[in-house]
Symmetry: C2
Subunit: 190 residues, 2 copies
Amino acid sequence: MKAERGATLKALLGLLSLGPMSGYDIRALIQESIGHFWSESYGQIYPGLKRLATAGLVEKKTERQKGRPDRHLYSLTDEGREELWRWLRLPPVDEVPRNELLLKLFFGAQVPASVCREHVAAHLAKHEALLKRYSVVAKALEREHGHDPDLPYWLITLSLGRHTSSAEAKWCKETLKRLEELERKKKGGR
Amino acid sequence: MKAERGATLKALLGLLSLGPMSGYDIRALIQESIGHFWSESYGQIYPGLKRLATAGLVEKKTERQKGRPDRHLYSLTDEGREELWRWLRLPPVDEVPRNELLLKLFFGAQVPASVCREHVAAHLAKHEALLKRYSVVAKALEREHGHDPDLPYWLITLSLGRHTSSAEAKWCKETLKRLEELERKKKGGR
DNA sequence: GGGTGCATGTAATGGGTTACATGATTCT
DNA sequence: AGAATCATGTAACCCATTACATGCACCC
């Protein structure tokens, strides 16, 4: 398993460090825990687990179920945990930026300001919804994982979500004002 | 040219709407104008321009140069501009989140807090550098494009950079404090 | 009877980076 | 002499999503 660029396998190792899980479980867990900053599809998860097993970083146990397909439970091996630790120490590679909203706004002068306004309004709604969700999740975490040593770290990741979403929301509001002004200037003709 | 998911071709159209350019120019322009929220490699740009030309959305003119390879200058056709407009009106598809720093922090309890501290410190430095750059760029834009109708839109994109980078920086500082506290608690023994 | 959830996986396709290949000119 | 800039492009590779394929159980 020569070093990859992507972090999919590391994400799998990390999640398995929280306990044995199936691919299906992992998908669900991703969405409800790290969904606001990470995602994986089945097309990555299942082949990924297989590769990790071949490399000896995880162990597979099959659980029979009646009337349901078997569950393949994967758990970290010692080598797997060490691999995870090694990776955690490496400085994160920073992602290439790709923000389609900003790209459209950059060329915004080509279309009526109302078009941009609508894009920004939708963006605002999205982040306001996120902010609400973050509050709910924070409370749920504190309730359900009161003394878990992981808790402070989970809250740290949530906190960035809050900071950036409220920054985005603030920017949206300012931008909406600016766009309205641009519209007025156009219409009013000087 | 059946509808794509990626926005590479649209980005090319957008940049060409600012004036005729070569692939080389486009690369350079991306880095100095929209580099903080978009990127393209030559491996995308050159084939992309070729496809746009085949589809009749751009026109190619070759400029001879002495001692240098020919420059292939591309410019928008009317259909190209219309295609751009159509795309600008469509709501932006939101990107899948993938933040490796947060992923590492989420599993931070597995390694000494100092490891996370260093990752966060580097992140802070990055955003502080960005903030400086944004100021410089904003001034340069106002100086060089005083009455350009694009200017307000360019400033809007810059403004989001400022908002989010200062939010990230603030979060970094808070997080550094929290991590130091966690370190003290570990060492001091409850 | 039909949707949703459980549960696994593969194949096709798409989108993107990196490395390679070429070669003159100009700056240090 | 050597590095950087100008300038074009292709091929190999990697990473990821989506669609497909399967099938039982449970609820409405």
